[in-house]
Every structure is written in C-alpha cells, then in structure tokens.
C-alpha cells in the first residue's frame, strides 16, 4: 500500500515538473522510496560584459547538495525571522539589517568557493557569518550582546568575524578596498586563494570602489567584486541613485557577469566561473546578483514607504529562493515532502535553542570593557570616565 502510494505520488510530482524552467528529469521505474541521486537543471543565461564565454548554463545538483543548500538557506531564513522577533521584543537593539530573501546569494557563493577562500561584506552580514562557519547560537548571542557571542558581545550585528571572513562592516563601501587588499595578500602569498568582496547597489556609486577596481585590474588581483543588487539603497531606488544601473558593467575594463541572485544554482555556477577566472591569474571580475530583501533596510525601516506591499508579496510568491529549490527537489524526486518537513522541524529546534541561549547567556563581564585595544601588547591602563578611574586593558 505504501509503495503504491509512493509510486502514485512520484508520478504526480513528475507531472508537475513542467513548472520549473526546463528541468530535465531522470525517470526511474521504482517501487521503493529511494530518491534521484542527482539531476541536471537548465539555469538562466547570464548577461556578460567583456567576456566571450560565461558560466555554465546547466547546473548539476546532487541530492546531498540539495538538502544541504535547503538546510542552510532555511536556517538563514528562520534565523533572520527570529532576529526580527527579538528586535521587536527589544532584546536586540541598535542596528539590525536582515537578509531574508537574499539567501541564495550567500549559499550559492559558499557552494562555489572553498572554505580557504576569503569573503568580506557590508552590514547585512548575518547570512554570510553563518555560511562562513559561525553557528547560529554565537550569531544570535552576538545580536543580543552576550558574552557567548562570536565577538564576545562587543561587536554587535555589523561586526562579526570568522576565519577567512572579515565581517560585517558598518561604513558603506569601505569593505571593497579591504577585500581587494585581502586579494593582494593572496596573490602575494601565492596560495591560489581568492577573495569575494561584496557590496550593495547603494554602495556601488562609492568612489573607493572604483579605486579598488583600478588597482585590482592593474595588479591582476584575484578579487571577485560582487554587487548584491536588491534594488534599494535604504529608501532610494536604483533609478534614483545611479546614472547607470548596469552594475555588472560598472567595472568598465573589468569583465562582468549579471546573475539571477534568487537561484542558488545560478549563483553557484557563476561564482565557480569567477573563481576559476581569478585563480587563473586573469585578474578581477565583477558580478551583479539580482536579488531582493523582504525586510526594510533595517529594523527601524518598515520598508513600505518606497515600495509597495504588493511588490514584496509578488517576489515572495514567484521568486523565493528557498521555495524554488524545494520545488526543484520535490518535482525531481530528490526529496520528499516529509523529509523537508523534518528538516524544517529540526531547524526550528536549532533556532529556538539558539534564541534561548542568546537570551539567557549573561552579558559580558565589566573587566572585558577595555580589552582588545592593541594586539600582542603588554597589559596597559585605560582612562575611565574620570581621572580616578583607571581600567585595565589586556591584549
């Protein structure tokens, strides 16, 4: 009975596969609940700038990869929504820039580079902090300003770091020259690593980005400049901020690729191409990921004064990156509805546990206040609020 139901449901799902853009299915006559080990998908062709050939137009996805991408993206999604909740409860304070809607960018990039490669981004960084290896507990505890946070509570939302992940940067555009500098170090040390330097459409007009482009091209730095174009720089749409909205062409003499940032496979293939290009010593490359953020610029921006709720709803229903991946996997029998549900339940537990930790972990101790001013230095004295308060600082 079970097997028959599975067969029927398989046939039903295979029939529904036409929803996806030209997905080719691997048919199998099965009676057991085993899944397709891998499938090949046609992905959107990328617009190219100064490139003869671009990223692959088909992407192979294995079941394991699919489940891993799903799990990671869903974790990011739920983590951001939990952060939203905690912010409204005033447990998280200050600035909080949420990433929900843009998960495919962080996941796709991580899937296409090595853990030994480098990455730097701006303040909408929670997703990247996770993909670069920091666990949800430490991210959430940092948001709530506790000692268990990845920066011991001293950095907050915009200043989280990990190995080969340089934050988390608060000043718009400043992270791009930093990323080019990391790439310089990679070239200098000959370690065949690349640096991914991310910035937004709002930052794309910053002069320092063009200065970075120039030096990266001049010195052939292995730097992948990526513009995450979510169409708005705070409340300003791209049309109102940029004389040219072809962000992938803004590198001018640097080749560029325009990528569908809502499709994790598209992003992955593009970044693989870009990383190969850089590793071959051809110099930098610019990528534009077309994506969307569901939340406003930050938690103090409702996000509906400069765009309509209908627009947000439309993107959610038609282009959501997690839904897209899920539907691909289900319609190709790479996973079952139950399995996905199980993953969701598991993620919910992880997030709840992390939130619990983030709320109950104590705040940093006061003797931590002045530490980490200088590195590798002897302990020193730091002036407090008045001359009689002498605090201790340890490296």
């Amino acid at each position: 009975m079970q097997k028959m139901l599975t067969l029927i449901s398989n046939v039903y799902r295979l029939g529904n596969a036409s929803k996806n853009v030209g997905a080719r299915m691997v048919l199998s006559t099965r009676f057991f609940t085993d899944f397709t080990p891998q499938a090949s998908f046609d992905i959107k062709k990328c617009e190219l700038h100064r490139l003869e050939a671009g990223p692959s137009e088909t992407a192979v996805l294995t079941r394991e990869q699919g489940l891993q991408y799903y799990r990671t993206m869903q974790t990011m999604r739920r983590m951001e929504l939990k952060a939203d909740q905690l912010y409204k409860q005033k447990i998280i304070r200050g600035f909080c820039h949420l990433y929900d809607g843009q998960e495919a960018c962080a996941m796709g990039i991580e899937a296409g580079i090595n853990p030994t490669d480098h990455l730097i981004t701006a303040y909408r960084a929670h997703g990247y902090t996770f993909t670069r290896g920091v666990c949800v507990r430490e991210i959430m505890a940092e948001l709530t300003g506790r000692r268990g946070g990845v920066a011991k509570g001293k950095g907050g939302s915009m200043h989280m770091y990990a190995k080969h992940f340089y934050g988390g940067n608060g000043i718009v555009g400043a992270q791009v020259p930093l990323g080019a500098g990391v790439a310089l170090a990679c070239q200098y040390q000959g370690n065949n690593q690349v640096c991914v330097a991310l910035y937004g459409d709002g930052a794309a007009n910053q002069g320092q980005i063009f200065e970075s482009f120039n030096m990266a091209a001049l010195w052939k730095l292995p730097c992948i400049f990526i513009c995450e174009n979510n169409k708005f720089g705070m409340g300003t749409s791209v049309e109102r901020s940029s004389a040219s909205t072809d962000y992938f062409k803004r590198g001018d003499y640097i080749p560029g690729i325009k990528v569908d940032g809502m499709d994790v496979l598209c992003v992955r293939e593009a970044i693989k191409f870009a990383a190969d290009y850089c590793r071959a010593g051809k110099g930098p490359i610019v990528m534009e990921l077309e994506t969307y953020r569901y939340h406003g610029h930050s938690m103090s921006d409702p996000g509906v004064s400069y765009r309509s709720r209908e627009e947000i709803q439309e993107v959610r229903s038609k282009s959501d990156p997690i839904t897209m991946l899920k539907e691909r996997m289900l319609s190709n029998n790479m996973a079952s509805v139950e399995e996905i549900k199980e993953i969701d339940v598991d993620i919910r537990k992880v997030i709840e546990d992390a939130a619990q930790f983030a709320i109950s972990d104590p705040e940093p101790p006061l003797d931590e206040l002045c530490n980490h001013i200088f590195a590798n230095d002897l302990p020193m004295e730091v002036r407090g609020t008045n001359p009689w308060v002498k605090l201790k600082s340890v490296s």
Binding site: R93, G94, F95, E142, G145, R146, G149, A151, G153, K154, G155, G156, S157, M158, H159, N169, G170, I171, V172, G173, G202, A203, N205, Q206, G207, G233, M234, G235, T236, R240, S241, S242, S305, Y306, E363, P364, L366, E368, L369, C370, I373, V382, R383, G384, T385, N386, P387, W388, V389, L391, S393
Partner: protein
C-alpha cells in the same frame, strides 16, 4: 536674544528713516550737509537703540511668554523650513533627506513643500556630495549638507577641512564658503564602534571652521538659523538621543528671526561652589547631577558651551573665577579632547589663579564603543560619574 530681535527691528527702522530722508533731499542741499544729516540721524537712532531695546527687553519679560513644547527634531525642522523660506539660495542635500523625510525624520515635510530643486536626495557618496555642496557654496548658494551621522563625514573630511574651512584664508578673503554641515554626532544606543564617535574635538581643532553643538530645542533652533545665515562653514553637531526630547520654547524663541550668537556659551544654572562645563547631551546630565548635589548643599554652576569653536573662554573664566573649581563633561574621548582644550585655556588665562583645585575632565572611556548594553553604559559618562568627580574635586 531679545536684544538681537530688537536689533533687527531697529536696523529696519534706521533703514526706513534713511531712505525717507534721501527721498526728501532737495537738489540744493550739498552732499556734505546730507552726509552729516544722515550721520546725526544714525547717532540719534543708535543712542535710542539701547533705550528702546531695554524697553523691549522689559516688555518681553513682563508679558508671560506663551510656551510651546517643541522637541529638538521639530526645532531643527522648523528652523530649516523658515530659512528655506526666507532665502532662495538655501537648499538641503544628503542621503534620504527628501523622499524618505530624513533618516531621523529631521527633514520631514520639507521635500513635499519645497520640491526636488531645494531638497536633494544624494547617492551614498559622502566625499562626492560634500564636495559638490562646497562647490555650490563657492558659486553663491547656501547649502545645508547633511551627513546621516558624523561618522560618515570621515569619508568626506577632506572636503570639509581643505575645501571649506581653509578657502577663505587661502584666497585672502576673496572666496567665502557659506555652508552648513549638519547631522547627529556622538554615541547613540547600541550602534557599536563605527557609528558612535564624537567629532567635536576633530573639527574643533581646525581654524576656519565654526563648530556648534546644541543641547536643547532653543539651542537647536537658534544656532541652526544662525549657522545658515552665517557666511562661514559651520559644522553643526546634533545628537540622535536628543531628537525626541521636548522643551518649552517661548514666543520670542519661536519668532522667525530668532537667532543665537555663535561663539557664546550660556550659563544654564547659577552656582557658587563649582563650575561644570559641557556641550550637547551631557549638559542635561550636568543639570541632573547639579540637582542631586544641591540636596547635599553643593551648588553647581552649569555652563552650556553651545559652540565648540570659537570657544567662549570668557564665560568659562568668569564662572571659574567665581567658583574656584572646574569640571568639564563630554561624551567624546579624553585624549586631545574638548575638555583638554578648556583646561589648557584656563591654565593659560587669568582664571588659573582662582582655582582651588586642579581642573578635571569627565569624558567617555578611552575605547572604541562596545555593543553590549552593559559595556556601552559603562563607556559613557553617567550622572553618577559627574557627582563622583565633583565631590573629589571639592574634597568631599
């Protein structure tokens, strides 16, 4: 301030009289005669001015000022609105100032009222738009250039210092730069290291710049109007945490020509035992500390600097010579800060001989601003720190 309003009115009367006199001139009267007649009219008016202004002052203090509650944000908004209306050459540019109504809503309603030409949304390019604003000032406009916070001005500081502050000097008076740079300065709540720095000392260091740091709504209103009317580059340091705080404003302050003099401090509270000198939000803390100390018999004189540069040393000296004790209070870092400058000036001036104890500074802790609440609270001067310091200085 009564004097300044009266001043304006009297200049108008003077102008009118002189114009009327000119109309009455006959072709037979000689130029010298006319000039001396005009001079005597002027003298009459001027001697009468002080009498009239005294009368006006008395008038103002007699009539109970209709107090209206205005928070600092609205005071700034109204000041800009009035100045935009008064002078066509005034315009505002910055990130999100127009269609978003301002990142902190300080420019709410202005774009709707004045449109694209006078309220301009810029891309996120501080160096670029600050330079553009200074250039516009070179060519005769009177820009108000908003930095979303003063932290971002570091991206543009070359334009503020090298292009705005120094130009009048370098051109030997040929090129004035009537520009106002404004935005929130100093620490906020939970915005961490890159968004919490105080720039009073940085900009206060530079000749050619006027640097203003208002505390309450009256300061905000009067000083912003003065800054916009000033033909020099003015750095206007607001405070995000003060934006929502309401204060009572008298009818006189609400007058559309109300301006406060840049470079003049105000004694907010009279006292005899010790002088507290502060600026911006810390003035409120000083007043709170003074209220607590008063219960123990210590009367603090609280001086609100209002202007960082030019520094009103006279007011501080007069106060120190009265009380014999000085504590400066600021949110910024101690090293090379505003308090350090005040202490140095007191040392170098006549007030030093009146000090009964060394002058001391209360400042932010000498570290980048941490994020966690408990750490942030301990990184900025609190009321208890001011009270503690006062007692130490007074040997209590």
């Amino acid at each position: 301030m009564h004097f300044l309003v009266a001043n304006e009115i009297l200049y108008c009367i003077e102008d009118y009289c002189i114009k009327a006199f000119c109309k009455l001139r006959t072709s037979r009267s000689s130029l010298t005669e006319d000039r001396s007649k005009m001079a005597s009219i002027r003298c009459f008016l001027r001697s009468g001015k002080s009498a009239v202004s005294v009368v006006l002052r008395r008038e103002f203090s007699k009539t109970s000022p209709a107090a209206v509650q205005v928070n600092v944000r609205d005071a700034l908004n109204q000041a800009m609105d009035e100045e935009l209306e008064r002078d066509e050459k005034v315009f505002l540019l910055g990130e999100e100032v127009a269609q978003y109504d301002g990142a902190y809503k300080v420019s709410r309603g202005l774009w709707k009222k004045y449109g694209d030409k006078r309220i301009i949304d810029t891309p996120i390019t501080e160096m670029g738009f600050a330079g553009i604003a200074v250039g516009a000032a070179f060519a005769g406009l009177r820009p108000i250039c908003e930095f979303m916070t003063w932290n971002f001005s570091m991206q543009a500081i070359d334009q503020v210092i090298n292009s705005a502050a120094k130009t009048y000097y370098m051109s030997a008076g040929a090129q004035p730069v009537p520009i106002v740079f404004r935005g929130p300065n100093g620490s906020s709540a939970g915005v961490a290291a890159q968004h919490s720095q105080c720039f009073a000392a940085w900009y206060g260091h530079c000749p050619g710049l006027k640097v203003v740091s208002p505390w309450n709504s009256e300061d905000a209103r009067g000083l912003l109007k003065a800054a916009i009317r000033d033909n020099n580059p003015v750095v206007f340091l607001e405070n995000e945490l003060m934006y929502g705080v309401p204060f009572d404003l008298s009818e006189e302050v609400m007058h559309k020509d109300f301006v406060l003099p840049i470079g003049k401090a105000k004694v907010e509270r009279q006292g005899t035992h010790i002088t507290l000198v502060s600026h911006s939000r810390c003035v409120g803390f000083c007043l709170d500390a003074a209220a607590v100390l008063a219960k123990e018999g210590v009367e603090c004189e609280v001086v609100n600097l209002r202007t960082i540069r030019p520094l009103d040393v006279e007011t501080i000296e007069a106060s120190v010579m009265k009380t014999g004790h000085l504590v400066t209070v600021e949110g910024g870092w101690p090293q090379y800060g505003v308090g350090a400058e005040i202490c140095a000036r007191i040392m170098e001036g006549p007030a030093f001989n009146y000090l009964d104890a060394p002058a001391v500074r209360v400042t932010g802790v000498d570290i980048p601003m941490p994020y966690a609440k408990i750490l942030e609270d301990h990184s900025v001067p609190q009321i208890k720190d001011i009270i503690f310091t006062v007692k130490k200085v007074l040997n209590m």
